[in-house]
Symmetry: C2
Subunit: 336 residues, 2 copies
């Protein structure tokens, strides 16, 4: 590459695009199927049900403590596939690059993606790059989509929660959202709080092996735990109650939320998983979660009840009960 910044011609379909694809993307990802540069990647598929998921990442800034847009893009789609109980196998990646982006930034993001994919055990086998004029993007947006194989007998859904079920959370809330916003605002605690972006497919597989009657998994990203539980309660026509004292939150994150006026239940996470499990398998699920990567701080945080359908409650530290509302309006734009 003679250039050190992205030019419009890198999206033209001509010689400069080919150079970018060969010298930056193909060598950056290092996958045999991707290297063939056919329009679609063709790979073995070992099963009879496929899980397909996608997310586009528009986080700003592109790099922040603990992760960057690349790690986020791989982990987010891996986790979305994993929520179905599937084993994530293959990813596609689509870039929208802004004219003027430093190619060194792109290279760093690709290293993050490659490392996250290796950690998750997935392959990036196909991709696409578009370039938009300076001022029409923010450095880069990344879409990842991915496929996983759903094991026979696994049939999870957010609509399967039943009264008596137990709600588990795999670790501390709010780290990602606070890490990004504190970087953006130049707040002094920014170096103490790291994004939790992480691939959770092994954690999900461990829980599913230990607690095969698990109803569903969901990763509480945008809208935080509050959106996730409200969606599950609504889909299953049940109520849920969370015990505030049992929800793991780092001290610095709790302090930042107070300072910024955020409800930690509504702050985005990128490396946490919620599981809803029948009561007789809850302890086994918890132990599996705690032993799995990224699950050390896992806890049982609440339970499912008969109704009123779609309502989520918090038993506060002071013994009162309040409603855990979904976010109304916008709290942290461009958090993922």
């Amino acid at each position: 590459m003679d250039q050190d910044r992205i030019l419009l011609a890198h999206g033209s379909g001509g010689t400069m695009m080919r150079e970018l694809v060969e010298n930056v993307f193909v060598s950056g990802f290092g996958d045999d199927v991707l290297s063939r540069m056919d329009d679609a990647g063709v790979v073995a598929f070992p099963g009879s049900r496929v899980a397909l998921s996608t997310d586009t990442y528009v986080v700003w800034p592109l790099e922040f403590p603990g992760a960057d847009i690349g790690r986020l893009a791989v982990c987010g789609t891996v986790n979305d596939i994993a929520t179905s109980g599937a084993t994530p196998l293959y990813l596609s990646v689509g870039f929208v690059l802004e004219e003027g982006l430093e190619i060194d930034v792109l290279r760093r993001v690709l290293v993050s993606m490659r490392e996250a994919a290796a950690e998750a055990g997935v392959r990036i086998i196909t991709g696409d790059t578009k370039v938009v004029e300076n001022g029409h993007g923010d450095g880069m947006y990344i879409n990842t989509a991915g496929v996983g194989v759903v094991p026979d007998g696994v049939d999870l859904s957010g609509s399967l929660c039943r009264p008596g079920d137990v709600v588990l959370l795999s670790g501390t809330l709010g780290d990602h959202g606070i890490a990004v916003v504190s970087t953006r605002e130049g707040l002094s605690f920014s170096t103490d709080i790291q994004s939790d972006a992480a691939p959770l497919n092994r954690l999900v597989a461990a829980v599913l092996a230990a607690a095969p009657a698990t109803r569903c998994f969901r990763d509480p990203t945008r809208g935080g735990l509050a959106s996730t539980l409200n969606e599950l309660a609504s889909a299953s026509r049940v109520s849920m109650t969370v015990d505030e004292a049992s929800v793991p939150v780092r001290e610095q994150v709790r302090g930042a939320c107070e300072m910024l006026g955020y409800d930690v239940f509504q702050v985005a996470n990128e490396g946490k998983m919620v599981a809803v499990v029948p009561p007789d398998q809850a302890q086994a699920a918890l132990e599996a979660m705690k032993s799995a990567p990224y699950g050390a701080d896992a806890a049982i945080i609440g339970e499912v009840a008969d109704g009123p359908a779609g309502k989520v409650y918090v038993r506060t530290l002071f013994g009162a009960t309040r409603i855990m509302d979904m976010l109304v309006g916008e709290q942290l734009p461009r958090i993922c």
Copy 2:
């Protein structure tokens, strides 16, 4: 929906996002699996090899004669999957919406996507929406990714072209690129030239049934026929020669290219397919193409020779031979 424009809160993960997803996306696409609103769509997969492909669409303007960004986004990924010989089955869709976008525009685009998916026989089973601040996008960018099943015995690749093979093209060149640029520039011939955006999976399947020894398919999008043939010649280490007189081009497109200074071989297409076929199956492939949807103007346009490896030539209308170069620099930004 109370609002008639996209707000940042539509990307928040909160109540407004849920309303947008339920009232616009889920009802717009009308797919059972999508309606479950789980993080991944789970569906049957009838085979042992999967083809995965992705493209992001940043075309400007969003609507143009003959198609819009939505039809483009469905057809483009369907066609990329089809090039591998796979049957496209399922799509994911990821939107980046710009704050201020009229929701009516979004609804029109969803209608186009739904119609194109129905025409191609694919299902949109999972999706994602992000919102960026006004001025940080152009109305919308759309990523589609998709999976197809690769039939047993089918193993196509751009590296398999051999000397003596015949090059087929499924119809007229340049329609999409000229339709978009003429709209953008307000040129007077804009209403005469329509984008060719179309799903070509049935055409590919018909050719493959008639000519099972087909080496490869490739859709000549960005960079046009010139990029496609140069890539194939390079991957297969062969040369190719195209007979200019046999390449179908509409009169208005030829005229527009002359006026604008474009080489029609470098202009983008979104509903054309190139096939490379051994000589003994070329006639069968041509007949199958001509009988298939969108293949009426198909023609044999050239042949493969021993070398020099990676070179593509044109026999001009005047009997001379010139090199068919890949685009250098940028011709038409944001064409797809």
